[in-house]
């Protein structure tokens, strides 16, 4: 293991003066053993930290990012030049207060923001992995994070927190390393990916693979990108992150920069223009093959399956405290899926809280300014910190 000064990024930096974070290299002696039976070696984890680890190493909060997120939680993102994806929650004096907590967020294995993924060079060939990159799972991501936490010398995390795919990682952390997770906060997530969710992911993957520029995954060698396919995948996915009520409220049938219908296939409606913009900007910061791998990792996630089909068994004997949060209008990870986890935790005799928050903003609500979510996080994290004597 060696600490590389800066991670490398697949995209040029829009804000080169900003903090690029750290990268940790795991050499041939420390392979990442994958669920598929394959080994990833060597590999690199790119990560960010915020705040300071205290003397007793007890104030570490691990944030697990969602599919389109990365390690740049707060501050300005060096690649996009935009604020980090949870900048409203993480920072000095904010809910996850970096004056009190040492916050860690690592780009997931298979990602495209510096951690080893399909866009990185395969040391065996010197060329980007493409589809020769092994399939990774949520558990593989968590295994890699545990190696990072080991390297940082942290025995137990005060809290592991994340939404959506990040929430899946939180659940996996709690199941795989119960003694290393003092408290866990999975938001807007599920212990398994539903058939409907797999279906939407498959639409996205097919859109990418149907783009002639995808070239069987070897687009990097040809110096092209399946931008159209990835944009369509993002557009389809983005709809699932919202709700009908929110779309109606924000866009309705409003026209975009025009007074009348064009009688053509331009983006007549504001919603079309909005989705096209979402697709376009995503392509600038995300790798198409990474998108294939990360959607697959989510599809494969079924925590109960690893425990004889009984979800409660995943949490048997756990001492971790849990706080689950769902949103009323989230149809991607509806309350019922979150509640299923709460029931399993109850059955395991675990210390669990479950909060459902009224919001019309769909799945994305966990990333937005939701006062009730903030109160819940503050209360839960504050209680954990108080027990641990963190000032």
């Amino acid at each position: 293991m060696s600490d590389a000064a800066h991670p490398n990024f697949l995209r040029p930096l829009r804000a080169p003066a900003e903090n690029r974070g750290h990268a940790l290299d795991f050499g041939p002696g420390q392979p990442l053993v994958l669920d598929s039976g394959k080994r990833l070696s060597p590999f690199r984890i790119a990560y960010m930290t915020y705040g300071t680890l205290n003397a007793t190493r007890s104030n570490a909060v691990l944030i697990c990012h969602a599919i389109s997120g990365d390690q740049f939680v707060a501050g300005t993102h060096p690649v996009t030049g935009k604020p980090g994806w949870w900048n409203n929650v993480v920072g000095p004096g904010k809910i996850i207060d970096t004056n009190r907590f040492f916050v860690i967020c690592a780009n997931v294995v298979g990602g495209c923001m510096g951690t080893t993924g399909p866009g990185e060079a395969d040391p065996a060939t010197g060329e980007p992995y493409g589809l020769s990159f092994p399939i990774v799972t949520i558990r593989d991501m968590v295994r890699a994070q545990a190696m990072l936490i080991d390297a940082l010398g942290i025995e137990q995390l005060l809290c592991v927190i994340g939404g959506s795919m990040g929430g899946m990682q939180v659940l996996q952390w709690a199941a795989s390393y119960p003694d290393r997770v003092y408290s866990a906060m999975p938001l807007a997530t599920g212990a398994r990916h539903s058939a409907q969710n797999i279906a939407f992911h498959e639409v996205g993957r097919q859109a990418i693979m149907a783009d002639p520029d995808w070239r069987g995954g070897d687009y990097a060698l040809a110096g092209v990108r399946p931008a159209k396919g990835l944009a369509v995948a993002r557009m389809a996915a983005h709809i699932t992150y919202l709700s009908e009520a929110a779309l109606q409220r924000k866009f309705g049938r409003e026209l975009q920069d025009r007074d009348a219908l064009s009688f053509g296939f331009d983006a007549d409606f504001q919603i079309e223009s909005y989705l096209r913009y979402q697709g376009m900007t995503f392509v600038d910061r995300f790798d198409a093959n990474s998108y294939l791998y990360l959607t697959r990792a989510m599809d494969y996630f079924d925590l109960a399956a690893d425990y004889g089909g009984v979800l409660a068994e995943a949490f048997r004997g756990t001492k971790s405290r849990f706080c689950l949060v769902s949103f009323t209008s989230d149809w991607l990870f509806p309350t019922s899926e979150n509640k299923r986890i709460a029931h399993a935790l109850n059955a395991a005799g675990a210390n669990v809280s479950f909060v459902e928050i009224e919001s019309d903003r769909g799945h994305d609500a966990f990333l937005l300014d939701e006062p009730e979510l903030f109160d819940t996080m503050r209360g839960f994290l504050g209680a954990a910190a108080a027990v641990k004597g963190i000032g």
Binding site: K339, H343, G349, A386
Partner: protein, 213 residues
């Protein structure tokens, strides 16, 4: 057991008298489940002042959110349907405060409580109180009193009972009574002999500490 928050909570005197009486029955450091925990006042007191490992189950989502924001471990759920998921004997004490009369299946709920907890505390308003009896006798209409403030058509209290009724239910559910308190004028409690005729007329409410026979 000493994992809970080491700061002082409300003194018991700041709790509603019936809740303070319940709190006094609970030994420090025990594992407690409060069903129908409301805004978490009792649970917060138990956790902060008695070092209890406390959990709550509450029907009203807004109340649940408030509890969690206060740092309590509470899940949204329904006593009528969600008790089955709790393992047997995991809690030292299970509390059902002013809730049994609002459940759909009081008998089932009581049996579940006795399964989940080593001890069970149940409190409820006494429908046999003389004011209730008098109100019905004189007005000929469903009683609306200070304790029972709802009209018959909008009350959540669908299964009101008297102290005598509850004793019968407890007996049928295989519970033995370890302690019984009468709630008088909604402000003080007094140890009662549950089988005596007095409490069923003069107590506004009752608190029972039960265990499985």
């Amino acid at each position: 057991m000493n994992r809970e928050i080491p700061v002082a909570g409300k003194p018991p005197s700041a709790l509603r008298p019936d809740l303070a009486a319940i709190a006094e029955m609970i030994p420090p450091g025990t594992r407690v489940l409060d069903i129908g925990c409301g805004d978490g006042s009792l649970l917060e007191y138990l956790v902060r002042s008695k070092g209890v490992d406390g959990r709550g189950l509450e029907l009203n989502q807004h109340n649940v959110n408030q509890c969690v924001a206060r740092g309590l471990s509470v899940v949204q759920g329904d006593a009528d349907t969600d008790l089955a998921e709790y393992p047997s004997g995991v809690f030292d004490v299970v509390i059902l405060s002013q809730t049994i009369q609002a459940t759909e299946k009081p008998s089932y709920v009581l049996r579940e409580l006795l399964r989940i907890g080593k001890h069970v505390i149940v409190s409820f308003p006494n429908f046999g109180h003389w004011k209730v009896r008098l109100s019905l006798l004189i007005s000929g209409r469903m009683p609306v009193t200070k304790t029972l403030g709802h009209s018959w058509h909008n009350t959540p209290n669908i299964h009101l009972c008297t102290i005598s009724d509850f004793l019968e239910l407890a007996h049928e559910a295989g519970a033995k009574i370890e302690k019984a308190l009468a709630l008088i004028d909604n402000q003080r409690t007094r140890i009662m002999h549950p089988n005596a005729w007095g409490p069923n007329i003069f107590a506004e409410g009752a608190i029972f500490l039960l265990a499985k026979k």
